[in-house]
Symmetry: C2
Amino acid sequence: MIKGVIFDLDDTLYNSSEFVNIARREAIKSMIDAGLDVDFNTAWEILNKIIKDKGSNYGKHFDDLVKAILGYYNPMIITTGIITYHNVKVALLRPYPDVIKTLIELKKMDLKLAVLTDGLTIKQWEKLIRLGIHLFFDEVVTSEEFGLGKPHIEFFKYGLKKLNLKPKEVIYVGDRVDRDIKPAKALGMITVRILKGKYKDMEDNISDYKIENIKELLPIIKNLVESK
Amino acid sequence: MIKGVIFDLDDTLYNSSEFVNIARREAIKSMIDAGLDVDFNTAWEILNKIIKDKGSNYGKHFDDLVKAILGYYNPMIITTGIITYHNVKVALLRPYPDVIKTLIELKKMDLKLAVLTDGLTIKQWEKLIRLGIHLFFDEVVTSEEFGLGKPHIEFFKYGLKKLNLKPKEVIYVGDRVDRDIKPAKALGMITVRILKGKYKDMEDNISDYKIENIKELLPIIKNLVESK
């Protein structure tokens, strides 16, 4: 019997890849306008190397970028980048089409809902609240809170424990084969891969279902409920 | 000969007391709406005690508030408060009347301008940039950057050094007798106290000039220039 759904957040419930891409590009452009003496493509390459080296949750990407280009700390340029990034975030964060409709239907089916996401707790909550969907979820679990992230199976077990459900009672929905689907399936959850974001074309022989829009979850769950 | 003007930021160039007051009150209201089970006045008292104990630049006022009331960490409620605080900041930050006009006139008089402010570098720059006035200043000096804040005289000396000016060549404009006017005057700067913010009624027998609107600076400076 299906009793709950656990969702990944970034690129599963909203277009994280696109939003981050636009926010970082606009931030660089605004820093160049503010006096960062570099062409866009060079700055873009340096920033991406910093993000790759330090991880996406490192708090000082723009500090390092400005230091790498100018050779010194320039708070005006760094702050300009931060403000632009934040303004783009506020302007662009919205759920994928049909996310809210689908969450309403899932609540009407009396399912428990959770988000299981890698990232800093306050930042992931900020996204959920700004997306306007946080109240749908009975549990929100972050890698920062648990201390270990995806694809560690312990993290997924922790999510199940918070919902007080067994793996077979849960559908897991995520966009990544390696970090979402593999560990969820290894635990025995029913896996649904959503073909969104920058990993949508990745090879996938293991997901139980693949969908392009979150509303396709509804007939899948109805069938599973009726077949039991 | 007057060659430069150094300004305090908070409550001198914009209404910091009012903005912070509204932002914190709205943040508390939004946290109560989000499930923080407390009456407004109790939360307000606890928050002010936390701010007094930990200082205004402590980054976790709302974390401590929620923990003090609920007894545990609740990231949804904390993040709701942070988002509301930030939204109010973006909505309400604007310079006092006549600030931009006056800064334009001061630049036309070929004066060097600086801001000397207590606070975290990125946060103070964020205010200047969101106020739309950062490009007027030749130097922005923060206590975080220097390592010591007001009323330490070394901090004021550092500001003068950055402008490459002597005390007698500089007019200092601030709202506080104890932290702005006293040390600036002790160094030999000409002091102008702006009667704004929560300290506007404080006793003051030492300021060279007292003004209610920043535009009153212009005749003061013109007189000083002509009398030399």
